[in-house]
Symmetry: C2
Subunit: 621 residues, 2 copies
């Protein structure tokens, strides 16, 4: 199969999945009767149930099993918080406008589409040109506005809908802006992530945890991104559910007490080195990845392992799940290491979970902006002698030499790290002066011996005060669910072989409804039995659906398979019933009184269907 055929096949598969999802109301285009809004989707009843199941499992797997501190913060966020986090300044995409109609496009998308189409369809492309276009695609995320603009002009790219000329690219902030209170003078935004709500609460949460590290806080909630032109269906939306963990840890000790529980897990990893040298993702035990230094530390490794367990238990295909390390140019300057859990679907490899060691960046940013120290203390059992760097600027001399700039020079001197300070000390002792770059003035000044004293002193300290590092696993719940839909979907022929039927092979954990109850024919006796079973299912907390339509049992099975319901109970006598498993289509006979507990034991994962098969007579329909 060539690339074009592959693409066609993927497209057809996606259409089949999406048609089923839409027809059965797994999701609905929001505000459809008003022609909808791009990038906004509703979850209909089965989608809503799947989402609730995924979130309940997330809470069990992460919050409960790891004793995390869950919080729930508002979506409306005042500007000051998002200025500190950098979102007001930097949370932008580059946009171009159709110069006549004003329609907006993401600049990188247009360039990407152009390159991809050329590469796919232009058969006369020279080797040189091909290499150039591939290079552009690889560099897409690194281009500045000017570079993007130059490429767009250079290739003669125009507005896709009208072929009109395009404006130069300019940044568009992706946050939904609003105003808090009636005065109109307090700008706010709908949060673009849930993490900031945790960071600003660090002090209280640290106290709640008995002033002990490490600990993790978690939050599930809505986040908002005012995408320029959303596409890729459920994968790029303007409002979505995030589940985020912020694990706070001593930067000097990123070991994890439970690492041994995951270290033997083996799954597809795609380290930076392998990507750069054109190799494929490969299976590496996570223990090895940490010990070889591929993954920066145990805590990061532990979470990668836990994320793997979470996704695979949900039903994500292990062969289409990989952990890809960020390239140096992808990673924020402050990050120590970053891995994305990527899931392969018809749109390609999609980032669904980001697992980043963000070092002390976030807590420092909020400490600086708020003036409240977001730090941890380690009390020493006995005082320790610590060598301390002491930098004492002589303000009088600096004032004489630098006048109005004195303050900035003083601050720059005080901010020197150990290496720089000791270098200056040596220069001052040898040459009597030293060249010194003052960032805030953006120039090099000359510091004389009488302007600063630099020394090291031994001090007794009773505790160490430090800003914790934060390891952040961040889950895009909607993306995970969409990939799960694709990985769970298959079709099979009906009995007569003249029609393809759709099935979602959801594990019981995820299935929107755990079982259906079908009275075989419409009569009061069977309906009474169905109601009795329904009551016993409710009592044990199992969600079910009764279908009392007179439709043929085959059609009712087909309908329920399409919702991914694992078990169907057909009431065909008043004492015992037929239970049918979705994927094998095997059927067994079970007493009416036993059926609820049987369904519960299978859907809770206490028994497998195979365990059950041994115990009950099979039934052939």
């Amino acid at each position: 199969m060539d690339a074009a055929q592959e693409a066609q096949k993927r497209e057809a598969f996606r259409q089949a999945v999406v048609n089923t999802l839409e027809r059965r109301l797994f999701y609905i285009s929001s505000f459809k009767i008003y022609r909808g809004v791009a990038g906004l989707y509703d979850y209909g009843p089965p989608g809503c149930a799947v989402k609730a199941n995924v979130l309940a499992f997330w809470r069990q797997h992460f919050v409960l099993e790891e004793n995390m501190l869950e919080v729930d913060c508002p979506c409306v966020t005042p500007e000051v918080v998002l200025k500190a986090s950098g979102h007001v300044e930097k949370f932008t995409d580059l946009m171009v406008k159709d110069e006549k109609t004003g329609t907006c496009y993401r600049a990188d998308h247009l360039l990407k589409d152009y390159c991809k189409e050329k590469l796919e369809k232009d058969t006369n492309l020279s080797a040189e040109k091909t290499a150039e276009l591939k290079h552009v695609l690889a560099m897409l995320d690194d281009f500045s506005a000017e570079e993007l603009g130059a490429k767009i002009k250079g290739y003669g790219i125009t507005a896709p809908d009208t072929k009109n000329a395009l404006s130069d690219p300019y940044p568009f902030n992706l946050m939904f802006q609003t105003s808090i209170g009636p005065s109109g003078i307090s700008p706010g935004y709908m949060r673009p992530e849930t993490a900031q709500g945790i960071f600003v609460n660090f002090k209280d949460l640290y106290y709640y945890n008995g002033n002990k590290l490490p600990f993790a806080a978690a939050q599930i909630g809505q986040a908002f991104r005012n995408e320029i032109s959303p596409r890729q269906g459920l994968l790029r939306v303007r409002e979505f559910t995030l589940a985020e963990i912020e694990h706070f840890v001593d930067p000097d000790d990123k070991s994890h007490p439970k690492f041994s529980e995951v270290s033997k897990l083996e799954f597809l990893m795609f380290p930076r080195e392998d990507q750069v040298s054109g190799r494929q993702a490969r299976r590496i035990p996570i223990g090895e990845a940490v010990s070889q230094g591929i993954v920066n530390n145990e805590t990061l490794g532990y979470f990668i392992g836990r994320v793997y367990l979470f996704l695979s238990q949900l039903g994500i295909d292990k062969d289409r799940l990989r952990f890809r390390q960020h390239l140096a140019n992808e990673m924020a300057h402050y990050a120590a290491d970053c891995w994305d859990a990527e899931i392969e679907c018809s749109y390609g490899w999609i980032e669904c979970v980001g697992i980043a060691d963000r070092s002390a960046y976030d807590l420092r940013a909020h400490t600086d902006k708020s003036g409240v120290a977001l730090v941890a203390q380690e009390k020493f059992s006995e005082p320790r002698e610590v060598e301390k760097l002491i930098i004492t600027p002589v303000k009088k001399e600096l004032g004489l030499a630098f006048k109005g700039n004195q303050k900035m020079v003083v601050e720059a001197l005080e901010a020197m790290g150990e290496k720089e300070a000791m270098g200056m000390k040596a220069d001052l002792e040898v040459k009597g002066e030293a060249e010194f770059h003052v960032c805030t003035l953006d120039k090099v000044v000359t510091i004389k011996k009488n302007m600063v004293s630099i020394s090291k002193e031994i001090k007794k300290e009773h505790q160490r005060v430090f800003t914790p590092s934060v390891i952040e696993p961040s889950f895009g719940i909607g993306r995970i669910i969409y990939c799960l839909y694709e990985h769970s979907f298959y079709t099979r022929a009906n009995k007569d072989g003249d029609e393809q039927l759709n099935v979602f092979r959801f594990p019981p954990l995820v299935a929107p409804i755990k079982c259906t109850v079908f009275p075989l024919v419409q009569n009061q006796q069977y309906e009474e039995v169905a109601k009795k079973i329904a009551k016993s299912l409710t009592a044990v907390g199992i969600s079910y659906k009764i279908d009392i339509t007179g439709t043929s049992i085959g059609k009712r099975y087909a309908r329920t398979d399409e919702l991914g319901v694992p078990l169907a109970i057909t009431v065909d006598s008043t004492t015992s019933v037929t239970v049918r498993e979705r994927d094998s289509k095997q059927q067994i006979r079970v007493n009416v009184d036993e059926v609820a507990s049987l369904v519960k034991s299978v859907t809770d994962g206490v028994s497998t269907w195979n365990d059950i098969l041994w115990k009950y007579p099979t039934h052939s329909s």
Copy 2:
């Protein structure tokens, strides 16, 4: 105790509750390190767990037990939807501004505060003046902007903080406004309620339900109201969680098949008549309230009963819960009947759940605005003969007579109800012409006999097409939780009698943590046992907290009582442990291997503590 002492006692009680809630991080003022934002609160770890428990129980009690269709729609909502619902035009509060500083106040709040203070503190008030102020308080919700302004001026009310003069009252829309997409030309709002997301999906949901009525859809999610000046702590906030049900029903048949299950329930009801005539709320069986016509219909009554069960099972005190019927002036013009579940707390009687029969209003509004018919069909088993009104405007004659206004006259004629049309028919027959008021022209025109034919015909109809009525129970989850905190809180003396200790008597269903595990002293043996118990608790899905600090066991009990943890397990041997119940402080001895299942059976409600007491030896510490 006089009114002032009562007020003081209430205030002191509230302070004790709120202090405990804040200290134990049930909630946190959002963005505290940046001095917070009025009306925004975070749920900290125990608050978050309580909220998750309340929502899980809501889902079980309403969505699962009633087979409702749950949906999950975005918060960001395009303007057109909220224009149709009336929110853009009417979702306002009246505001006044300090004329010098620009500070904003809710006009009715200032007037209310003024009247209340006068009534409480002015001892020289004449009987006449007292009656006047009481009347103002009663009428507060009915005043127009002009009336409110006149009262504020008349009483000489000034800005509370500065004593500056105030502006005239003017309406302020309470929705957070934003803009969807990058163009700036698509206004949107953060939804003020979740209901609209359900209404716009009516067609799909009706289809999903097999085109059958009645059915209910439900949604849990965030809603937003940009309050002018939030007060009353957690009761009036700018972002909150709503849980809403829209039960769609045939307007000609509002019976409910399960009404008999609730009809015997008896609780405090406060019908309109009793309020108007100054009587007290009284206990009425809901069955009687419906049969006597106090409650409009069975479906409304059924939901009132279900709401009562929901709130009382959560731990709301039945004696401080009442269902108050809206007065005629409180109710929207389209509503058939409306009852609020009000809970009494230190702020007075607080509306926590609204249960309204909104008739066909919402579906009609969206039908009109979107042009998509949100209707239901009832197929007749055999065709029925129906008398139908036929109005046929003669466009040619109308065009000659009304020229450019022809279209509006035609539409007005076609829209006539039966009574009006038959009146016109009679006039035309007798007088040859009829006066006719055309709303859209705002004038009366003369219709001649040749301009319209009006008749009644007998037609055979195969189905009936109608707009369903909607019964809407709408739950303010944050308000319910706050009242639950107050109703669950009490203090008791410690052993030495020198200190008051705080306790939340949460039912296990609600408790943020189901049990704590305390190794009696710090040693490895006991900690191993504690870990073993922890593991078995996780296995049965019970949330717990281990406290291995060396603090005295009494202090640890006090800490855990303050979080409302029902059971504490003290590890004081390697084979058996002490289990202590929070409210009775009774203790029993249980084998290590049995303790997890015992805790589960109590917290799941399978056994009560009293059942358990019989089976195990008691222990006195």
